[in-house]
């Protein structure tokens, strides 16, 4: 049971403050040409004088190491800007780390934002299929779970309404429901549970527990609610300024 599904080693992510690149094609080209001819970059020196090295970099994540075993529920906590979302983004492959490495096993479905990938003009039904497809599911699987998804999200009578007319609660319920019912081994959830009302929040928590227990699904979530974290009785990864506390 204690198989490791995600392992991060020395994971770091650096963002640059201010402008990226020199701003114009000509300047970039000149820099590139200089590098190619092994001459000094005409623009580098100016930059060096202006910014002392290291000053223009932000280490959003710095040397993160952790291991997650199968079926665990992990809560990632920390203040704003601690690097929680960046970590989830790297895990979801939306962006690459600057250094370090993550190895893992199994498919990931991620829910980084409520209804990301929903098309506002399409109906609830069409969006279930579109969203499921984006998460990499074949049509047959979405069909199999279709009833479960609508039942859990409790939107049966709104299936043929374009999602742009949904309330944010309905939106959230549908998005969570799609991600929760599709077959994957790892699920990533970024603080989306704040939207639903308390009864739906409880429903989500129960669902997460059930997925972790019965399906041995590994779940990573970001939450600011101490209550939620407690009731999920999960392990915590606390981030402080990009490092694990």
């Amino acid at each position: 049971m204690s198989a490791i599904v995600i392992k991060a080693e020395n994971l770091s992510k650096v963002y640059l403050k201010g402008q990226i690149s020199h701003g114009t094609l000509i300047r970039d080209f000149e820099s590139w040409l200089a590098r190619f001819r092994k001459k000094a970059d005409p623009y580098q020196q100016i930059d060096k004088v202006r910014n002392t090295p290291g000053n223009d970099k932000i280490w959003v994540l710095k040397n993160i190491n952790f291991e997650i075993t199968k079926g665990e529920i992990i809560a990632i906590t920390g203040d704003n800007g601690a690097g929680k979302s960046t970590l989830l983004k790297i895990l979801s492959r939306v962006t690459l780390p600057t250094s370090g490495k993550i190895t893992g096993k199994g498919r990931i479905t991620s829910l980084l934002e409520i209804g990301a990938g929903f098309h506002p003009e399409l109906t609830g039904r069409e969006n279930i299929f579109l969203n499921g497809a984006m998460l990499g599911m074949p049509k047959s699987q979405i069909k199999d779970h279709f009833d479960e998804i609508t039942r859990f999200a409790n939107i049966k009578e709104h299936l043929e309404t374009p999602v742009k007319r949904y309330s944010s609660g309905m939106y959230m319920r549908l998005a969570f429901s799609v991600a929760a019912h599709l077959e994957s081994e790892i699920m990533i959830i970024d603080e989306i549970m704040a939207v639903g009302d308390s009864s739906f929040q409880q429903k989500c928590i129960d669902k997460i527990k059930q997925l972790s227990k019965e399906n041995a699904k590994t779940i990573l979530l970001v939450s600011h609610s101490a209550k939620n974290i407690k009731s999920l009785c999960c392990r915590e990864i606390a981030l402080v300024k990009g490092q694990i506390k």
Partner: protein
Amino acid sequence: MNKKEWTITPHYRLSDFDFKVIWHYRYLLCQLIHRDVVAFYKQTVLGPLWFFIQPLFSTTIYTLIFGTFAKVSTDGLPQPLFYLAGIITWNYFSECINKTSLVFRENVNIFGKVYFPRIIVPLGIVISVFIRFGIQFILFLTCLIIYNCIGHELSINWAIGLFPLLVLLMALQGLGMGMIIAALTVKYRDLIFLISFGLQLLMYTTTVIYPLSTAPLNLKWIIQINPMTAIIETFRYAFLGRGSFSWQALCYSTAITTIIISIGIIVFSKAEKTFIDTI
């Protein structure tokens, strides 16, 4: 994909590119195509009729301006047929470039939040534009039959066997160039303004509004460099019986297409990994 091990490292290696993932996401591809085709005429009164109106309008304008006023030769072909052939092929190519090059910019919201191989989106574009091309191609065939009925002899020949190749070449060229531009526009927004201008320039250096045979000898090479030239000329030759067809030109076009699409896939896959931090 099931239970498969994966690694995320800071560097993108070319060997990571895997055609199998496209197959895995085939259902998403279908969904995107469906969305594109339907979205084209949603909230329009005339609906799918726009697929026909566009090329017919352009053909009328070209016939008037280039055919009647400027009296540009059409190799002895009926002007509307000559222009229509050029327009539908050119439109396919340029639409592919146009839409593909905006892929990153227009999908920032989705791409920032959900991961799937980004190349699915440009592929979807090329196929949905192809459906449009198919409809316009039927329009072209209808015109051909009408002309045949009013006495213009049909000269469809063996070269129509090359039609699938022509379509493939156009699609890959548009896709490749679009992906290169898309990758570059992540950093250099300037290119977006250049696209429409650049496409126009490309159109005048290929044989949409004039036949290759009328090009002045000393400038002919400029037109022949354009890999679209061979495609349009072969298309005209196949369906209308006139045009400068040569295997050499077609091979040249195929070679260039291969290069463009390879570079396109490489730069695009590189850009997709971190573009979200830059755009």
